[in-house]
Symmetry: C2
DNA sequence: GTCTATAGATCGATAGAC
DNA sequence: GTCTATCGATCTATAGAC
């Protein structure tokens, strides 16, 4: 076995340790919050020892920041290919809304939102980051598309960016609040589709050109 | 001084102690959350001693439940007289939305929402209660009004209750998320009015009968 | 790197004197 | 009821042996 391979194994084991710690920490922080989660839980679940955690992440805050960054990156990845500007306006709105709502209402996203909101006082940049990686990026992409539709005279709205935010909130606002509070019933895919239909109908009859 | 008066003084002092503790606990819990707030802070701020807290509220959870109940009761009180069914539909929507948004986006309401969401796992009934005292009661009242407007054939909506939720979320959804995360700028009264106007316009041109 | 042990600090809850 | 003192538990962070 060459030195190269030996180094590769060593690095990948380090990487595996890091990933195991991150996975355990993600579960712990998202479930119990920053103050409620303990490093003992993380270490018991991930294996390894305290020294490794401190060597890799500095302290509890560093570990917290690392897991938030990871969850943010994964949150709205399915949104990338949601807009096909060649299709009819209603179809694009439906498809985008459905994909956004599904990703944003998923339990992991809801837990991230909950924790980020709770700790936004202690970590101001964290709240801004989660907001930017979630609702804001979705609204920005939809806003760009709506601006194009306005230029093509398919839509009569003053501010496409504001209209995009309003549209997305019509769909996720109430369901997301229920999910945040654990108010049953949890939104089913069928319920999400129903709200999407209602919102698209109101939005388009309010904003689409005849 | 009669026994009655002496008793009255004694009772009012007890009441004053209780109120002082509740006020200090409200500030502490809303700012730091359940796990982050400490009884030392509460006692240092309210005066008195630990024994009084435990005698009155049992333990930390009892104190937490008491302050949540108090804040819930005060949250949407300004909503009581917001609907005047004799006025035009657009005016009622504007007035109701403005009053709801102002109360719901106020810092105290936002902090309550944040804490309730964060602790809804540990205290499931707490989440349901805050949701019921906030968005749900507002949507229910507006939904009743919309149902009346539908009967008078001023409105064409399938489900007035769902329409009410959608309408309120059009207005508060985005601003409330920003407030939750402390994303600047904080919503100004002017900004709230602007969103209300945009939402009423979209909602009515989508749902009002010509 | 991993483990054990422990320092150092904080906090919830109780007991007892006044 | 109020205060002081304190127990017992928990948790972060560090140190040292292997």
């Amino acid at each position: 076995m060459s030195k190269q391979a030996a180094l590769g194994v060593r690095v990948s084991r380090l990487e595996a340790r890091r990933e195991a710690i991150l996975a355990a920490a993600t579960a712990a922080f998202l479930e119990h919050g920053f103050a409620g989660a303990t490093l003992d839980d993380v270490i018991a679940s991930a294996g390894g020892s305290r020294a490794t955690v401190y060597a890799q992440f500095g302290n509890k805050e560093g570990l917290f920041a690392a897991i938030i960054a990871g969850v943010c990156d994964r949150m709205l990845a399915p949104l990338d290919a949601a807009i096909d500007a060649g299709r009819p306006l209603a179809d694009v709105l439906r498809a985008f809304a459905l994909r956004y709502a599904t990703a944003f209402l998923e339990p992991g996203s809801v837990a991230l939102f909950r924790v980020a909101a709770a700790e936004s006082g202690r970590f101001p940049e964290l709240g801004r980051r989660v907001f930017a990686a979630g609702p804001e990026v979705a609204a920005a992409r939809l806003g760009d598309y709506l601006a194009g539709a306005k230029r093509r005279r398919e839509l009569k709205v003053r501010h496409p960016a504001i209209a995009a935010r309003i549209f997305l909130e019509m769909i996720t606002g109430d369901l997301h609040k229920r999910a945040l509070f654990g108010v049953p019933p949890a939104p089913s895919p069928a319920e999400i589709e129903e709200v999407v239909e209602a919102a698209v109908a109101i939005f388009l009859s309010g904003c689409a050109r005849p």
